[in-house]
């Protein structure tokens, strides 16, 4: 490693050659403000267009100020980060940005977590010169099932474009126009709904301003709770419990499962259940489907559809429907846990408590924005009554809890209600990349070999590497597993499947980098990837602490099959718990 010596703010330091001024300064604990720049270390995600110029610093001997995020340190460089000239320049830059930005903070969904608002505050901006005469660029507001776009608030950092194109390889949005009217959006400035958007929400997760936010359903949920005629049932996804605490100032990676249940009860939900129950159910259905396909495959059936692809991530489902419609028979037909839960709540559970499904409202708390869209898919409704009525994000729930004046940090813990609140460690790890397949392997191993597992932690399936593979010994049979998180990584594995070159028997895909713990509805990470790692560790901790860690040993799952569904993959199970996929690729029609 070649190193160089530099001086920042009168302190000497040795850094690796090629280090940017920003990184060198951060290492020394010097905080240079940034806006457009963002990096998630372990995920190989970086945005550095060098566009906003908030990060400028003075480098001795250079006439112009240099943007710290894209300027590499020269040997012997003398850098000063907060001189009066620098401060003056930063304020000018900020005033310029704000001159074309609405002053909507009062009702902006991002208020309090907005990087731009923070920066205005940090730089002490009190007025914006020229405001009276300058016109502002305006755009139409676009509301899709999951995401709201208010481009008036776009500062052209282009983080969303980077996520959608470089990381997700979806290309739903891109920069258009130039200068004053430049913004990021779908082609022809049409609505997101008509683009190939997967609703993964990764653009929302990185947008520093209120330009991209989720559709807020907390008002609808409140109305349902207030309505005495409705029985309101709530389910909460695994990744929520590992992140919600952050919204209340708790350390990233703090598990808040028990407090979460108490908060939901205080908010007035009639039954507080767990999506993890449905995750266990997913393993039963998907695992059985996988073993059936595998048997066919080993008997030489060319149409066995191996590798099986997981189907519990709706962002990923949208992706292959748009981009690989010719492979639409390859993913498992099992619905996502959210939808399995809704279908069981409005049939099995509604029968149990003797109410009509129309009088039941199912709310889901999700780390995910794609789940909003998924819950609105017409095939997931019975006579127009959706299985899941409202899907709200971790962030929306946090707001809801704050509105109710609940002192979250000091809440006592409580347990989920029965029967749909009982779950195993296998279900919890659905929140992490690799978790679904690990849970499936645990149960499939037992069902396939008829033997007991002598270990439950398949650490070879864990980690943050974008594409991973492992071979698991199924009692002499080497089972090849592929894992991808982030849709660009999924594309790599899918291209192999499409070309008939895949060596895998099963592949897990999660649309979001890190899996659901890094979902588009989670508390904002503000570019700090250590937060994602802490959440992942918390999920594995919850798994370890669970008395039961195999999905097929969940007593309430066994009861559900005994009382209601019969066998996994039975006709009734198929009807309620499985789905099919659509070809959504746009086609060019030849005019006659």
């Amino acid at each position: 490693m070649e190193t160089i010596k530099i001086t920042i703010d009168n302190k000497q330091v040795e850094v690796e050659k090629g280090t940017t001024i920003l990184d060198a300064a951060r290492k020394m604990g010097i905080d240079i403000p940034t806006l457009c720049h963002m990096r998630l270390d372990d995920l190989n995600i970086e945005n550095k267009p060098g566009g906003c110029r908030i990060c400028v610093v003075e480098v001795q001997g250079r006439k112009n100020l240099s943007p710290a995020c894209i300027t590499k340190c020269d040997n012997g460089a003398v850098i000063r980060t907060h001189t009066p000239r620098v401060m003056n320049a930063r304020r000018t830059v900020m005033e310029f940005i704000l001159s074309d930005h609405p002053k909507d903070c009062l009702i902006c969904p991002k208020s309090g977590t907005c990087d731009l608002q923070d920066m205005a505050h940090r730089l002490g901006i009190r007025e914006i010169p020229g405001q009276e005469i300058a016109a502002m660029s305006t755009y139409r507001k676009d509301t899709s099932p999951s995401i709201i776009r208010e481009l008036d608030k776009c500062i052209m950092c282009r983080r969303c474009e980077m996520m959608c194109n470089d990381i997700q390889t979806v290309g739903a949005i891109g920069a258009f126009n130039r200068g004053f009217m430049a913004a990021v959006g779908p082609a022809y400035e049409q609505n997101l709904e008509y683009s190939p958007c997967t609703y993964c929400g990764q653009c929302v997760a990185v947008c520093p301003t209120g330009a991209l936010t989720e559709v807020d359903h907390t008002r609808d949920v409140l109305r349902a709770i207030v309505d005495p005629a409705k029985t309101v049932v709530v389910q909460t996804a695994p990744a929520v419990r590992a992140a919600l605490g952050e919204e209340f100032g708790m350390k990233p990676g703090t598990l808040v499962t028990g407090k979460l249940v108490t908060a939901l009860k205080e908010l007035g939900f009639d039954y507080v259940f767990d999506t993890d129950f449905a995750a266990d159910l997913t393993i039963m259905e998907e695992g059985t489907e996988f073993l059936n396909r595998l048997k066919k495959f080993l008997n030489g059936d060319k149409n066995a559809n191996i590798p099986i692809l997981t189907s519990c991530c709706p962002g990923w489902v949208n992706f292959f429907e748009h981009n690989y419609p010719d492979l639409k028979d390859v993913p498992s037909t099992a619905k996502s846990p959210q939808q399995m839960f809704g279908a069981i709540a409005k049939s099995y559970f509604a029968e149990k408590i003797n109410i009509n499904r129309k009088d039941m409202v199912v709310v889901s708390i999700m780390p995910c924005l794609a789940k909003k869209y998924e819950s609105q898919r017409p095939e997931f409704a019975v006579d127009g009554n959706p299985d899941v009525d409202y899907s709200i994000s971790t962030r929306e729930l946090a707001n809801f809890i704050r509105q109710a004046n609940i002192d979250f940090v000091n809440l006592p813990e409580s347990d989920f209600d029965r029967p749909l609140g009982e779950s195993t460690g296998a279900a919890v790890i659905f929140g992490n990349t690799g978790g679904v397949i690990e849970a499936a392997v645990r149960t499939a191993y037992v069902l396939y070999t008829g033997k007991k597992l002598n270990r439950l932690d398949f650490t070879e399936l864990r980690g943050m590497e974008g594409v991973r593979q492992a071979t698991i010994d199924f009692d002499g049979f080497p089972l090849n597993i592929g894992i991808a998180h982030g849709l660009g990584n999924a594309r790599k594995l899918l291209d192999e499947v499409k070309a008939g070159r895949s060596k895998f028997h099963a592949i897990e895909v999660m649309a979001c980098p890190g899996g659901c713990i890094g979902g588009g509805g989670q508390p904002l990470h503000h570019g700090d990837s250590s937060i994602l790692k802490a959440r992942a560790a918390a999920i594995y901790e919850e798994d370890r602490n669970k008395p039961i860690r195999l999905s097929h040993e969940n007593p309430y799952i066994i009861q559900l099959y005994n009382e209601f569904l019969g066998e996994p993959n039975s006709e009734k199970a198929h009807h309620l718990l499985h789905t099919h996929y659509f070809d959504k690729k746009a086609k060019i029609i030849v005019k006659q």
Partner: protein, 160 residues
Amino acid sequence: MSSIKIELRQEDLNKIHEICDSFNNEPLELINILHRTQEHFGYLPAEVQEAIADKLNISTAQVYGVVTFYSFFTMTPKGKHPISICMGTACYVRGAEKVLDEFKKELAIQVGQTTPDGKFSLSSLRCVGACGLAPVVLVGNKTYGRVAPDDVKVILKEYE
């Protein structure tokens, strides 16, 4: 590609494929491909952009981004009599902007637009190399020199 309905005639689709093929379907050649396509069709409607994106295997958002970034690309069809006003330095200092404003007023359209009846469209150009005649206006292939705002009505009359 996006999921709006795209309809094209077979011969137009063939032409687009031919142009893309001649650049080896190389996404880095997008600007040149768009140039050639616009030369052929006169403008770059959404359908054409979709077909190019599909052929090059890139996103339509990317194609649209390039089309809207460079002012020489247009998404609206040119009028029957395309009017171009030179905005080069010589023409500019001799009052081209006033001439342009007069055209805008008379036709009630902006630069880059076409009149609703499809008759006239308006664009601005960089120096056309006839600085001695500044300010210069082109209507179709015909060149008008030393144009004053008052001449605008007279010019338009010729095409009625």
